[in-house]
């Protein structure tokens, strides 16, 4: 390839990968050729003045269009922080939060910090967040250039979500010092086989599972496990294409149309644990910094209990910190397992573990040796900046030195609720599923659990009603429990409204119910009542894998009429608790500084 052609390609913005594919070379060969020809990007300043005046804030972009370069490399010890790129569902502001904390913490510890990110909406791309800002794509090619030119000491890949994590191995192979938990440990956690072996070694139960690279394998595994099963592609964040499957036909459809399975990108098949309670744990550890795994600390930042039962993506589920229904013995098991995994994986930095609890038995669903979506929430709830501590641990400090060696136990409650974009996508059903669809989250914090929940609903834009009518329509599995939940509302002075089957169950339990038509039975039906604002709360749980059209209509109408809706009975129970608390006494406000002080 001649210099002139390569120079022009780079000036037109072609990546090495594009050039490689177009010319039939490998990416490495294109890179080597560029090196040989001395064709490297130059870095220029974003300085508000088109170089008219001297600039003091090192905010850079790369270009191949001009040779001159405005970077002066300093000799301080540099750590590169890899950001998360554009926000999308599953990877949002939480990861920007973590990256910003890493920059603050390492600057305090005397490092020079470099931020690489391509998302203009963030705090991480403010020129005063890091010592040097590179507004660049997060690809191997672009990141390596910066790392090598700046002669960095290390790079942090575990804070920006899946984007930098996907780059970690490639960067390491090119000589980048990925600080914190080793990419090998990350691989163990992400590779199903290695992970299963790890859990076996530690004696931690896992839902029965298998790995399929094609449809036939998937069907065979499903038969072995028995339905329902949970299927998903490997190496994704946000539960992309994750689904609960109840029958062969559904599985076949999934394998044919929903994923592109291959030996490199297999599909993970897990036995789905029905009615289990899910738990998220965020933990920080420095054990990997010591020679012996029994040295060092691993400290639990927070244990979060999901309000919805298993099957709802952890990014979508409402959560309570500390857990509100789990027995202390179960929590102790969770603690034991978490510490054991942190030691075994030689974690340096953050780790997130997801568990499912059924009775006394605790199953490990997955481990993510990185900053998780819940890190900012937990940090605010307990008053400890976990991401900051983790960054310092990754750069060589110990938790002992940093004074964080014991789990914080709060006496107040923090509830996380998710916020969804359903009002943007007309016709889209709003059911919660293993595929994450929320865009954001809110926190409700209070000394009273009910009030904390009520505040979270207020903050999420669907405040709980204090009086009025509650509409119930639940699936057959939920029917045995529905009367108990409905009774809570009756005791709070609400009137009940229900359709056919649900009304029968409620009446049989001695409750007074106003019957309304289902959509196809006649009018006025439930949707009429919603549109007339005659219903103040809707409890509607899905009837199996393929929801009926009339249910979908009820749920979407609730969204458009801004009527609060619960699609799980556990959510409805929490709502009753919140309403009761609001009616007992009005809520008060308090700063988090005060919450933290009071402990």
């Amino acid at each position: 390839m001649n210099l002139e052609r390569l120079t022009k390609a780079k000036a037109l913005g072609f990546s090495d990968r594009q050039i490689a594919h177009l010319t039939g070379l490998t990416e490495a060969a294109v890179q080597a050729e560029r090196r040989r020809l001395g064709l490297e990007p130059s870095y220029r300043l974003v300085d508000t003045c088109a170089a008219e005046f001297e600039a003091y804030t090192p905010y850079y972009y790369s270009t191949y269009d001009r040779g001159d370069d405005e970077v002066n490399v300093s000799e301080r010890r540099k750590v590169m922080i890899l950001g998360g790129g554009p926000n999308r569902i599953g990877q949002g502001i939480e990861f920007d939060y973590c990256c910003v904390h890493a920059a603050f913490a390492l600057r305090e510890d005397g490092f020079e910090t470099l931020m690489v990110n391509s998302n203009p909406e963030t705090v991480s791309t403010d020129y005063d967040t890091s010592d040097r800002l590179f507004f660049e794509p997060l690809t191997l090619e672009d990141v390596l250039h910066i790392y090598q030119r700046e002669r960095c000491w290390g790079a942090i890949a575990q804070f920006g979500g899946q984007t930098p994590l996907n780059l970690a191995l490639g960067l390491q192979q090119h000589g980048v010092n990925i600080i914190g938990t080793s990419p090998q440990s990350i691989e163990i956690a992400e590779d199903r086989k290695l992970f299963a072996a790890l859990l076996r070694k530690l004696g931690i139960p896992q839902p029965p599972n298998g790995v399929a690279t094609n449809e036939i394998e998937a069907l065979a595994i499903a038969r072995g496990l028995g339905y329902p099963i949970l299927v998903r592609p490997s190496f994704v964040l946000g539960g992309r294409a994750m689904q609960i499957v109840y029958a062969d036909a559904e599985l076949t459809h999934y394998m044919r149309f929903a994923v592109e399975a291959s030996p490199e990108r297999p599909v993970l098949v897990d036995k789905f644990l029905e009615d289990a309670t899910e738990v998220d744990v965020d933990c920080i550890s420095d054990v990997g910094s010591f020679d012996r795994p029994d040295q060092g600390h691993s400290v639990i930042g927070g244990i979060l209990e999901h309000i919805e039962f298993a099957g709802v993506h952890s990014g979508d589920a409402a959560m309570v910190l500390p857990p509100h229904t789990l027995a202390e013995s179960v929590l102790d098991t969770i603690r034991t397992y978490t510490h054991a995994m942190a030691r075994e994986l030689r974690i340096v930095g953050l780790m997130n573990v997801q568990y499912a609890v059924k009775g006394e038995r605790v199953y490990c669903l997955e481990v993510n040796p990185r900053a998780s979506r819940t890190v900012p929430f937990v940090s605010k709830a307990i008053g400890v900046p976990l991401a900051k501590l983790a960054a310092r641990v990754m750069a060589g400090r110990t938790l002992g030195e940093l004074g964080f060696t014991a789990e914080v136990r709060t006496r107040y409650w923090a509830v996380k609720e998710s916020v969804f974009p359903f009002n943007r996508f007309h016709g889209q059903d709003i059911l919660l599923s293993p595929e994450m669809r929320s865009t954001g989250e809110v926190m409700g914090i209070d000394a009273d659990l009910g009030l904390a929940y009520a505040k979270s609903q207020m903050a999420a834009g669907s405040p709980l009603p204090l009086r009025g009518r509650v509409f119930f329509s639940v699936n057959d599995q939920d029917k045995p429990q529905v009367a108990a939940v409905a009774r809570l509302f009756v005791e709070l002075g609400f009137e009940l409204v229900a359709t056919g089957g649900t009304a029968d169950v409620l009446e049989a339990a001695g409750l007074t119910v106003q019957r309304v038509f289902k959509l196809l039975e006649g009018r006025p039906h439930a949707v009429d009542l919603l549109k007339n604002r005659d219903l103040q709360l809707v409890v509607n749980t899905p009837s199996g894998a393929v929801p009926r059209a009339d249910e979908v209509k009820i749920r979407t109408t609730a969204v458009y009429t801004a009527t609060p809706i619960m699609t799980t009975l556990s959510g409805a129970r929490a709502a009753a608790l919140g309403i009761a608390a609001l009616r007992r006494n009005d809520y008060a406000v308090q700063t988090i500084q005060e919450f933290h002080q009071e402990g």
Partner: protein
């Protein structure tokens, strides 16, 4: 005019949870404001229910309320904080406390529409007056003038600027009458006071019109919709303006939308600075921007003003203005290096633009308009794969969940950098060996796609349209033809053509 000495504490309202149309750009703006005001020695009180934000970290404000952003809740906070100030011995908001800092003021312009709506509700219900709380950064009258579409349009006409023909309706009957008056489809429907244009849309026929009008009236908190002549296919531009109390005005950044009118700015590919206007046209737009911010009366802070230009006649109309820091402000800040939110916060407490130093140069004051010697491209990131039942057509209601930005010396370089930043598995505009999926069909990376597939993807705005411009060029369509289908300015198309032609040149070297 130095900073005000009567202010003791500033209450900042954040934007709450991340939703489409209001994302983490308001964490960026709120964080900057907290830092700037603390630096100035004010006591900062913050309310934001979103725990994932940097600004709600305990050290960014003196008092952080992770509480719901509702008028009721913010009133509770005001009451509590006034009591707290009195406990600290400050004659809080008392008329005769004037010789020292004693006021608790409210800054609502950095937390997006949520903060602005909450503050306006508190103003209307008399809460602010009852507690003697002054709003800084923008006064209620200016916000109303900027946000009430009818008032805004009349104001624009009164200062000699052009606006689209339109009418405001509160009922379905009124809506029909306005549609009659404008007399032709398509018609644009925009509900008043909703976020990111929620509930808006384009109606091509009577039936769609009825449906959209009904929904818009439903969703608008004041049951009000604007019905407008269609500017579909016009070029769209944005100006980020700042103004101080001494009436100094500066343009921070000019932005051109690659996608013509009809696609929400948040869903458009945008380019800074403006690429396809002559200097004369740009200066006319700059003058108009200053006229708008003055007429609306935003005394201190930033505003975003949107323009449409008919490429056939050159007719320029004002679309709308946001009298606050917006999503475009974040982009403009990152594109220029000029920290809009920080400067807005300082202007709100009394400084003038020429009194604030530019951190980057340390020499020039904030009254210097930024100059840029590069091209910035922003491309939105969508998540339609998560909502398979929803319609993926782009229209005036924002649907993207994020965005990537890239900087380069030319539009071509920036565009390709931006496309490989998107995290959608592409390494540029194409030629990276990845197949293309169109519905259930899969095509090879360098396959020539059928023309009818391409035409469909060009005519109806969608998330992948940029890539289909490449397919169109590869299939032999001319820039003129593509312009006819997309109304995208031929200048941009010619740039893309250069990329595509060079892709072929590279491919020709393949052994």
């Amino acid at each position: 005019m130095p900073k005000r000495t009567d202010i003791h504490s500033v209450l900042i309202i954040g934007a709450g949870p991340i939703i489409i149309g209001q994302a983490c750009e308001f964490d960026y703006s709120g964080t900057q404001a907290c830092k700037a005001l603390k630096e100035e020695g004010f006591r900062v009180i913050l309310v934001n229910s979103n725990p994932a934000t940097i600004m709600t970290d305990p050290e960014f404000a003196d008092r952080t309320y992770l509480e719901p952003i509702t008028p009721e809740c913010v009133e509770k906070i005001i009451v509590r904080e006034l009591a707290e100030l009195r406990r600290l011995g400050v004659p809080a908001n008392e008329p005769n406390g004037a010789d020292r800092p004693h006021k608790l003021v409210l800054l609502p312009t950095l937390g997006g529409q949520t903060a602005l709506n909450t503050a306006m509700a508190l103003g209307r219900s008399g809460v602010l007056e009852r507690h003697g709380v002054e709003m800084i950064g923008a006064n209620a009258a200016a916000i109303e003038r900027g946000e009430d579409r009818l008032v805004f349009k009349e104001l624009m006409l009164s200062i000699g600027l052009d606006v689209p023909i339109s009418g405001v309706a509160h009922t379905l009957e009124e809506s029909r009458a306005i549609a009659e008056r404008i007399g032709r489809f398509p018609l644009i429907i925009r509900p008043a006071f909703t976020l990111g244009g929620t509930g808006g849309g384009i109606a091509y026929n009577r039936e769609e019109f009825e449906e959209l009008a009904k929904r818009g009236l439903d969703l608008s908190p004041v049951s009000e919709i604007l019905i407008e002549e269609s500017l579909l296919g016009w070029k769209e531009f944005e100006m980020e303006v700042m103004r101080d109390k001494a009436d100094n005005c500066v343009i921070i950044c000019s932005i051109e939308n690659f996608d013509p009118m009809g696609v929400h700015t948040g869903d458009s590919i945008t380019v800074a600075p403006i690429q396809t206007l002559t200097d004369k046209e740009y200066q006319i737009m700059r003058d108009a921007s200053f006229a708008v911010i003055r007429a609306v009366g935003v005394e201190t802070g930033g505003s975003n003003i949107q323009f449409a230009v008919d490429p056939a006649t050159g007719r320029m109309v004002i679309i709308e203005m946001n009298p606050r820091v917006s999503r475009s402000s974040a982009l403009a800040s990152k594109a220029t290096g000029f920290p809009i939110a920080k400067i807005a916060a300082k202007l709100a407490v009394g400084y003038l633009l020429d009194e604030i130093r530019n951190d980057i140069t340390r020499e020039t004051p904030a009254s210097f308009e930024p100059t840029i010697d590069y091209v910035v491209v922003k491309v939105p990131r969508f998540a339609f794969e998560k909502f398979p039942q929803a319609d993926p057509t782009l229209n005036t209601q924002m649907k993207s969940v994020g965005e990537a930005m890239a900087i380069g010396r030319t539009f071509k370089e920036s565009l390709q950098k931006c496309l490989r930043s998107l995290e959608i598995g592409r390494s540029g505009l194409g030629g990276d060996g990845k197949p293309w999926r169109v519905g259930t069909e899969v095509y090879g990376d360098r396959d020539r796609l059928p023309r009818e597939v391409i035409s469909r993807k060009l005519t109806v705005p969608n998330a992948d349209r940029i890539f289909f411009i490449r397919h169109a060029l590869r299939a032999g369509m001319s820039v003129r033809e593509i312009h006819g289908l997309t109304k995208i300015d031929p200048w941009f198309l010619t740039q893309i053509e250069e990329i595509v032609q060079f892709e072929d040149e590279l491919a020709a070297t393949k052994a």
